[in-house]
């Protein structure tokens, strides 16, 4: 092969590779799917928590455990409620006994290692409750780190786990900055809140939303401008958790305090 032929063939080869690579791009399965399921792409589930309304009754946690078959006494939960107590002398306490499954039945703060801290009412500067659940991030690190693709994001934004394919390495649990993931005590696969996917896709509310007596929890479609929660998120001041991780969480909070961890 002389130099001219070599250059010719190189140009041809590069062009050929470029065209075939473009074909792969052109036939991106995700885009095809998005075009087929145009309706589902119009939905993006989001959650709104009004921390002013939460009283820490724990009905949401209880309802979630029952709805999603998380063993009742197992010390893991798909959603939980945190209590924050800040005293006048600047001390900060937080706890979530059993994920607040039974609510907060004592004023003593759980400190771990079976220790409790008594805080007198008159010493409290401010105190509040914060419900937590999976943030169904727009940029979910758990999906990124799953080595087998067992956890994935549905077109409507909800991150799901395939229990038949999860190998149980725990990388997603490590990758989640919010600590929402755990191993299911029975199935031994990664487990997390999925916004009660089996319910919301049938037009129902999530178990926790339905169980909340005070309307502190709401779920809706953020792509629908007429959805009540979309209106609130667009017009009011809402916060998100741990923005610095760049995960773009889709659980929004009204009245989020800087002390919330």
């Amino acid at each position: 092969m002389n130099r001219r032929d070599f250059l010719k063939n190189t140009v041809k080869g590069v062009a050929g590779l470029g065209i075939s690579a473009a074909a792969i791009e052109f036939l991106n399965p995700k885009d095809i799917l998005a075009n087929i399921n145009k309706d589902t792409a119009k939905v993006r589930w989001a959650f709104l928590v009004n921390t002013y309304k939460c009283v820490g009754c724990g009905f949401c946690v209880k309802a979630c455990k029952q709805e999603n078959e998380i063993p009742y006494d197992a010390n893991v939960t798909r959603t939980w409620v945190e209590r924050y107590v800040i005293t006048k002398d600047g001390k900060r306490y937080a706890d979530t006994p059993k994920g607040a499954r039974d609510g907060f039945i004592t004023t003593k703060i759980e400190m771990g290692k079976d220790k409790f801290q008594e805080v007198k009412d008159e010493d409290i500067q401010k105190a509040f409750f914060v419900p937590k659940l999976c943030n169904q991030c727009e940029n979910p690190p758990c999906v990124q780190v799953c080595p087998v693709g067992a956890t994935y994001q549905a077109p409507d934004g909800v991150v799901l786990v395939d229990r038949t394919w999860c190998i149980g390495c725990g990388y997603c649990i490590m990758g989640c900055p919010y600590g929402v993931r755990f191993f299911h005590p029975k199935y031994h696969t990664a487990e997390k809140c999925n916004f009660c996917y089996h319910r919301i896709t049938k037009g129902l509310k999530t178990a926790c939303v339905q169980a909340c007596p005070f309307g502190a929890r709401q779920i809706g479609n953020i792509k629908d401008p007429n959805d009540p929660i979309t209106k609130i998120i667009l017009t009011e001041r809402v916060g998100i958790l741990k923005e610095e991780f760049g995960t773009k969480p889709q659980v929004f909070y009204i009245g989020l305090d800087r002390e919330v961890k």
């Binding site: 197992a74 010390n75 893991v76 939960t77 939980w80 900060r92 306490y93 937080a94 706890d95 979530t96 059993k98 994920g99 400190m111 771990g112 290692k113 937590k132 690190p141 999906v143 990124q144 780190v145 799953c146 080595p147 087998v148 693709g149 067992a150 394919w165 999860c166 190998i167 149980g168 390495c169 725990g170 990388y171 649990i173 490590m174 990758g175 989640c176 900055p177 919010y178 600590g179 929402v180 993931r181 755990f182 191993f183 005590p185 031994h188 696969t189 610095e244 991780f245 760049g246 961890k261």
Partner: protein, 417 residues
């Protein structure tokens, strides 16, 4: 009970689902792959860079690396909640995950080591298979031996000078190719940790480099230790065989060869140890200096909860003391044994402090988790993810090495090159 609950003790504010999910087997995993990579790099120092002083240990290190290779994935499998699904990692690799590369990197590396070994031992295989092939009345034992070595030759019986020269060239290329792949094999283990943005202790781009450096340190240390042990055994045997076998190396010859190899190898160990410690300290200083949001909780773990593990066990006993032991003049075998054992302990503690230390604090930055390694097993989980599971993983390569040396003898063998 939830996985992890058994060995986790929570303190202050920890999210309800947080436990030490990555336990001792995940400490063993980078430790073992580190030994694989380290042993290989040591063998390549001779094959690629032609450092002649390391000739004796190079062959040894390559065979040992091969033995370690089979054990490296074992801790992961013991750790998986669904070990039988581990193959999914090869079936549907999800390439945005660092772990997904495991199958490709690992098998590439395995193929390189296996081919290099083949070229290195080809002449040896032929020297055993050829006479057996010509022999008429073979006993059953000879048939088995013939079958094994005949298969290992892959039908190539050409041992002319010309073909042996080609072997030599192939070894050099493979060893050269193996260095980046070995570094990648281990660097990516570091990347698995370093890329977890949720974990304040792990997330640093230095992690893969730190892992590679400490891997080479531990790999060289393990090779030195095993080399010494085998040489001692040979010395013992040569004393007994002295009268009967002529031509065998005498105990004194072995002694002087051993000391020379160990002194030379120790220099390379020191070099990589300096790199490893410098990078680790750089990481620590940088974290303290920049003092980002996580520094408060990290400081309380590094200088408080894990002080003994990090500064006493890892840096002092595992790094500083062996460093001094190696630097003192006239290194003896006994001193070298003590030093390499301490070095390996130091690298193990480094892995421990990364894996367990990274989970010692809550994602809330307001609480802590303490890990209690299960020692006495009372069920399958505490066996495989407990002390004995880890011990089995550590001891397995030695047993495997003993078996493999039956086919790839590391001493007294005619070289292919």
């Amino acid at each position: 009970m939830v996985h992890g609950e058994l060995w986790t003790v929570k303190e202050l504010f920890v999210y309800p689902n947080e436990y030490i999910y990555w336990s001792v087997q995940i400490v063993m995993y980078p430790f073992m792959t580190g030994l694989v990579a380290g042993a290989f790099v040591l063998s390549s120092l001779y094959h690629v860079f032609g450092i002649k002083e390391l000739k004796d240990i190079a062959r040894f290190a390559l065979v040992f690396s091969f033995a370690l290779l089979f054990v490296a994935p074992v801790p992961i499998i013991l750790h998986l909640q669904h070990p039988f699904r581990g193959i999914n990692n090869l079936m549907t690799p999800h390439f945005t995950s660092a772990i997904a590369a495991f199958g490709i990197v690992f098998s590439t590396y395995g193929a390189i080591v296996a081919s290099e070994l083949w070229f290195l031992y080809r002449r040896h295989f032929v020297s055993i298979a050829q006479p057996l092939k010509d022999k008429q009345d073979k006993t059953l034992g000879e048939w088995i031996k013939f079958f094994i070595f005949c298969s290992l030759t892959l039908g190539v019986y050409d041992v002319s000078d010309e073909s042996l020269k080609k072997d030599e060239k192939a070894i050099k290329v493979l060893a050269g190719l193996g260095i980046p792949v070995a570094c990648f094999l281990h660097g990516y283990a570091g990347f698995i940790f370093g890329s977890v943005k949720a974990n304040a202790l792990w997330m640093t781009p230095l992690m893969p480099v730190i892992f590679i450096m400490s891997a080479i340190v531990s790999g060289i240390a393990l090779c030195m230790l095993t080399y010494i042990l085998t040489m001692e055994a040979r010395k013992f045997l040569s004393k007994r065989k002295k009268a009967t076998q002529l031509g065998h190396q005498t105990s004194e010859e072995l002694q002087s060869a051993e000391v020379n190899v160990i002194r030379m190898t120790a220099k390379y160990l020191l070099l990589f140890l300096v790199f490893a410690i410098s990078l680790e300290l750089l990481d620590l200083v940088f974290r303290g200096y920049t003092a980002t949001k996580s520094w408060d909780v990290l400081r309380s773990v590094i200088y408080g909860k894990d002080f003994t593990n990090i500064f006493i066990l890892q840096y002092t006993i595992g790094n500083l003391i062996p460093f001094i032991l190696f630097l003192l003049p006239n290194l003896t075998i006994r001193r070298a044994v003590l030093a390499v054992v301490l070095v390996m302990f130091g690298v193990f503690m480094m892995r421990w402090n990364v894996v367990v230390g990274g989970q010692a604090f809550s994602l809330s930055f307001a609480g802590y988790m303490h890990y209690h390694l299960p020692i006495i097993p009372h069920d399958w989980e505490t066996l495989k993810e407990g002390f004995f599971g880890a011990l089995a993983v550590f001891l397995a390569p030695f047993g495997l090495f003993w078996i493999i040396t039956k086919i790839f003898p590391v001493f007294d063998v005619k070289e292919s090159h």
